[in-house]
């Protein structure tokens, strides 16, 4: 029982991480891939924060009469990572919008098919020019 309590946080992290991973590799829709990456990201955040937690500790704000604080270092790293994460997510979504403008779809296989068709066309043109 004690063992389960001690390692439960890692299992939560792994379940979340694998959910995100599955979304990234199994789905062809780009928005779902980005959401999957976000879940993966959150799982890493939870991992850091849970490692910094100390039993009986409080939030790392200095006050009289408190001796045990949780580790502030992971908090700092994750705090900045969250804001950077949303900025990069915005960049990914912007890329998705541009891809949708160019190809009319955000499904990976449709885009691949369109790109292949275009490649065939250009190579056929080139072959024709050579003749």
């Amino acid at each position: 029982m004690q063992y389960i309590h001690d390692h439960f946080n890692y299992w939560i992290v792994i379940v979340l991480m694998m959910t995100g991973f599955y979304m990234v590799i199994a789905h062809k829709n780009m928005i779902k891939k980005i959401v999957g990456l976000n879940i993966f990201q959150v799982s890493v955040f939870v991992f850091y924060i849970s490692m910094g937690k100390i039993e009986g500790g409080t939030a790392p704000i200095l006050a009289d009469g408190i001796d045990v604080y949780s580790n502030p270092l992971p908090h700092v790293l994750i705090l900045t990572a969250i804001v950077v994460g949303v900025a990069t997510t915005a960049l990914g979504l912007a890329l998705t919008v541009r891809i949708n403008d160019s190809f009319g779809s955000i499904e990976e296989d449709v885009i691949e098919a369109a790109e292949n068709a275009e490649d065939d066309k250009t190579s056929a043109l080139r072959a024709g020019n050579r003749k």
Binding site: F8, V42, L79, V97
Partner: protein, 172 residues
């Protein structure tokens, strides 16, 4: 929280996915709060539940609302994911238990930050003093990343603003 995450996998309506990811962030924020990370919970609640949901909805308005249901075989990804997960769980057997003050992460610089930051830097909030003073370089880098991401979004999508202005003039 894990249930919300599973829901995200199965829903094909992207609108519901955007809403559910907001709920997911909010539950992540409360989880951080339980683990003493007040600053982080604050940020996640403001960013994840607010801004990124709005951005996601904006993207949906610009693209499509439904995911195309594919008939692909989902077995292979599932196998890969389970194998990776099993390996990772095997790796946790050696990890220090949750909340252990003797874990390696709580030893090197963290002790110094907690003991000395009040004397050396001043602010009672240790997170602020580490963020701004001890790790000032890191934060400068992060701010630069945000700056660059915003420039990137401007470069990718900002172009479409000029025609609108023209149209407005035409209408006037």
């Amino acid at each position: 929280m894990a249930i919300t995450a599973f829901g995200l996998v199965y829903l094909s309506s992207l609108f519901a996915v955007a809403m559910l990811s907001g709920i997911f962030s909010l539950s992540a924020a409360s989880l951080y709060l339980v683990m003493d990370a007040v600053d982080v919970a604050f940020t996640e609640a403001a960013v994840g539940a607010g801004i990124s949901t709005v951005l996601m909805l904006g993207t949906l308005a610009l693209t499509t609302r439904r995911e195309k249901t594919s008939k692909d075989n989902k077995a292979l990804p599932l196998v890969i994911v389970s194998a990776t997960g099993a390996l990772l769980i095997y790796a946790t057997l050696d990890m220090p238990p949750y909340g252990d003050p003797a874990a390696p992460i709580n030893h090197h610089v963290a002790v110094r930050y907690i003991e000395k930051s009040g004397i050396e830097v001043g602010p009672p909030n240790i997170v602020t003093s580490v963020l701004a003073s001890y790790r000032g370089y890191d934060t400068l880098g992060e701010v630069t990343v945000i700056f660059t991401a915003a420039i990137g979004v401007m470069a990718l999508m900002g172009r479409s603003r000029k025609p609108r202005r023209k149209q407005k003039k035409d209408r006037a």
